[in-house]
């Protein structure tokens, strides 16, 4: 162990923190899972924040992927060593709220600010009727399609199915498909999307019942079974096979656009379209994380500074900057409708679909055991796809399982 090095380091950090103290600066920590272009954009915005608030210093910490970020937050909560603020998914936040470690935002976020958020994002950030987070890196599900094969993207489920069928071809007649019309990843989110578009609701008002065992659930599963007939079916990301021309369309998060672009480069053209309509609506699922402030392990001053910071990230100017640099979508209505963003869309028409979807979006309801609920969705979907039961029965089983294990 280079003792000298360690001693110097300790001394140095002491000097630094002392000088900060002297200047009356507050240091806060923000944990994120952003890399590369995303990280650079975040660093830029943070530098702007520090310029606007000379008394606050923000330390950005890259914690790997979301899985690792969640594990770090859990570990740190156990040790009482939480950062000031962090990116988080809704199903983590609700656990943090239950554990009493989150700082509520109702005192600092005005009604005006709330009204300026798309409905889905208000839902996303509200827990037990109170606001605990603000939206940050948000994406929406869109339909990616190969423009060399498709001129007019499908508008409805029926059209989607017909297009998928038409474009599934065995070019060399060897019995194996060389091109699939659609790419289907059996994720709980895809099932949820179709379930919602068919008109279904997830939870009863008192959250004691899972409402998937309905005609809507059956409709969604049947549609997916039909779709599967003309699909490349795999658990891995679909941007690869889409880029190589193996798959003509797929529904995925708009955050995947850079991967689609890179995989398609030199192979074919592509675009993103709003989602085809189901029998009830054509809503999209809004995904991505929010940002929130922890009250445990932080001083009053740090909490205050943290609140300033998370609000800064949602300012129109910065949410637009963020969206332009990363591929995510601005999170406020005023930003979405602003001239800045609209003129950006004119130059980048591939981004129009996700912008539209943001205003027609929905999110999962909040439940402390949503992780288990997603597992139920996944299992119902996979069983259907593997032909291990009838949709109606499987959905009923899922609802039963929820009652037995999760609601108890």
């Amino acid at each position: 162990m280079p003792k000298k090095f360690v001693v110097t380091l300790v001394a140095l950090s002491l000097v630094v923190s002392l000088s900060l103290f002297a200047a009356g600066q507050t240091e806060i920590t923000f944990w994120h899972a952003m890399h590369r272009e995303h990280k650079e954009a975040l660093e830029h915005i943070t530098a702007q924040f520090e310029e606007a608030h000379p008394d606050i210093k923000v330390k950005l910490v890259d914690q790997g992927g979301y899985g690792e970020l969640s594990q770090k937050l859990t570990t740190s909560a156990a040790a009482g060593k939480l950062p000031t603020a962090a990116q988080q998914y809704e199903d983590w936040t609700i656990q943090y709220v239950n554990a009493g470690i989150m700082k509520g935002l109702d005192d600092v976020v005005s009604q005006e600010t709330v009204d300026n958020l798309p409905d889905a994002l208000v839902d996303s950030c509200t827990f037990y009727g109170k606001m605990y987070t603000l939206p940050f890196n948000k994406s929406a599900m869109v339909l990616f399609y190969n423009t060399d094969l498709i001129d007019e993207p499908p508008d409805t489920w029926d059209e989607l199915l017909a297009t998928a069928k038409e474009l599934t071809v065995d070019k060399d007649g060897d019995g194996k498909m060389d091109q699939y019309g659609f790419g289907l990843r059996p994720t709980p989110e895809l099932f949820s999307l179709f379930h919602h578009q068919a008109g279904g609701r997830f939870l009863s008002d008192d959250k004691s019942e899972l409402l998937i065992d309905s005609e809507y659930g059956v409709q969604a599963l049947n549609f997916m079974s039909d779709l599967r007939e003309h699909s490349l079916y795999q658990t891995d990301y679909l941007s690869g096979p889409f880029g190589s021309g193996k798959v003509a369309m797929y529904i995925g998060s708009s955050a995947g656009a850079p991967y689609v672009a890179s995989a398609s480069e030199g192979n074919h053209g592509w675009d993103a379209a709003p989602l085809p309509h189901g029998s009830a609506n054509g809503d999209s699922m809004i995904q991505g994380t929010n940002v929130g402030v922890f009250k445990v392990g932080n001083s009053e001053k740090q909490i205050e500074a943290g609140l300033e910071y998370v609000q800064f990230l949602t300012k129109d100017k910065w949410t637009i900057y963020w969206a332009q640099k990363t591929g995510y979508i601005p999170v406020t209505l005023s930003a979405l409708n602003s001239d800045d963003w609209q003129s950006f869309l004119e130059e980048n028409p591939k981004r129009k679909a996700s912008t539209q979807m943001m205003k027609e979006g929905f999110v999962y309801p909040h439940h402390p055991d949503w992780y288990s609920v997603r597992n139920i969705f996944g299992s119902v979907l996979e069983k259907t796809m593997l032909g291990k039961g009838e949709p109606a029965e499987l959905l009923e089983e899922g609802a039963e399982k929820f009652k037995k294990e999760v609601a108890s």
């Binding site: 899985g67 969640s70 594990q71 859990t74 909560a77 156990a78 040790a79 009482g80 656990q95 943090y96 239950n98 554990a99 009493g100 470690i101 194996k176 498909m177 699939y180 059996p186 490349l232 079916y233 795999q234 658990t235 891995d236 096979p241 190589s244 193996k246 055991d369 992780y371 288990s372 597992n375 996944g378 299992s379 996979e382 069983k383 593997l386 291990k388």
Partner: protein, 314 residues
């Protein structure tokens, strides 16, 4: 009673009369001096956390607040009637009991081939070692690609023998076999190195003596190599089995954080991880880890017992 006492003292490694000798206690003192650094480190960073998690396993534990309600052995009782845990247990046993001997047989075979005077021997050895040093993320990503049902290389090759339609990553029945293939690939080099070291440790003169007696290649292998290699074989068996029962990272990376189609690759450590870090039920998760420990401990003890029959120290 005295018989029982004898058995007990045999178990903890000394006989009654030894205890009266000063030299024994002197040696004991020095042995512990030698063991001190190891025991200090393991005691602090392994034993203590494990004891602490035993306590947690008796609680309904809220990890985020680091507090809990004492519920005795309820977590254990619940686990034993949890079909999800039962499935995880079965997958783990299936994986461990197939992959361990399979890897060992292939590794031993390769090690014996590599133990001859060959050109480019160093390159061969390095080649077999490569998978083991490849970062798990990279190795698994390549596997996911190679085993893609529609455009992966493996199905392309299997197509020539009419088996090109296996849905490796999407069908529950193939999840553990795929995990085994990955495990064999990944850990082969590790075992080859151990077997090679063991083979090198067999003194040449045994072979010479056997050759003088007119033994052929097969007889040499059967009567010299195999018996003299038994300590290594035993060691590899114990280490690999313990490792196989803890299979986790492979699952995590092959199926992108899930436990495979219909949880068909759910293993006990994966179960632990999901219950602990995703469901925040650390009491339940810790209890699962303790049950895993019990199973592996019993199996290892049986193995050690059996080893007296087949392991020969020179």
């Amino acid at each position: 009673m005295s018989k029982l006492l004898n058995k007990f003292s045999g178990l903890i490694g000394y006989e009654g009369r030894k205890l009266k000798k000063l030299s024994f206690w002197k040696e004991t003192f020095w042995a512990y001096v030698y063991l001190l650094p190891t025991l200090a480190v393991l005691g602090t960073f392994s034993l203590w956390p494990i004891i602490r998690s035993f306590k947690i396993s008796l609680y309904d534990w809220n990890v985020l607040r680091n507090t809990g309600t004492f519920i005795g052995f309820r977590n254990y009782a619940e686990l034993l009637s949890d079909p999800e845990f039962g499935a995880a247990l079965w997958h783990t046993v299936y994986y461990a009991l197939v992959s361990t001997p399979l890897t060992m047989i292939i590794a031993l075979f390769i090690a014996i081939l590599l133990n001859q005077k060959l050109r480019m021997r160093g390159w061969f050895r390095t080649a077999f070692f490569l998978p083991w040093i490849t970062p798990m993320v990279a190795g698994a990503s390549v596997f996911v690609w190679l085993f893609n049902a529609d455009y992966g290389l493996i199905n392309h090759l299997l197509g020539f023998v009419g088996l090109g339609n296996l849905r490796w990553l999407n069908s529950p029945a193939l999840a553990i076999p795929l995990l085994i293939i990955f495990g064999v690939w990944k850990f082969l080099g590790f075992q080859v190195v151990l077997f090679l070291a063991g083979l090198q440790n067999i003194p040449e003169h045994y072979y010479e003596a056997a050759k003088v007696d007119g033994a052929n290649r097969l007889q040499l292998f059967r009567h010299v190599t195999l018996p003299l290699l038994t300590p290594t074989t035993f060691f590899v068996l114990i280490i690999s089995m313990i490792g196989a029962f803890k299979v986790f990272t492979q699952v995590y990376v092959l199926w992108a954080g899930t436990a495979g189609p219909l949880d068909s690759a759910q293993t006990i450590v994966m179960f632990f991880f999901q219950k602990g870090f995703n469901n925040f039920e650390f009491g339940y998760a810790s209890a699962a880890a303790y049950i895993l420990f019990l199973i592996v401990f019993v199996l290892t003890a049986i193995n050690m017992r059996l080893s007296r029959k087949w392991v020969h120290y020179q």
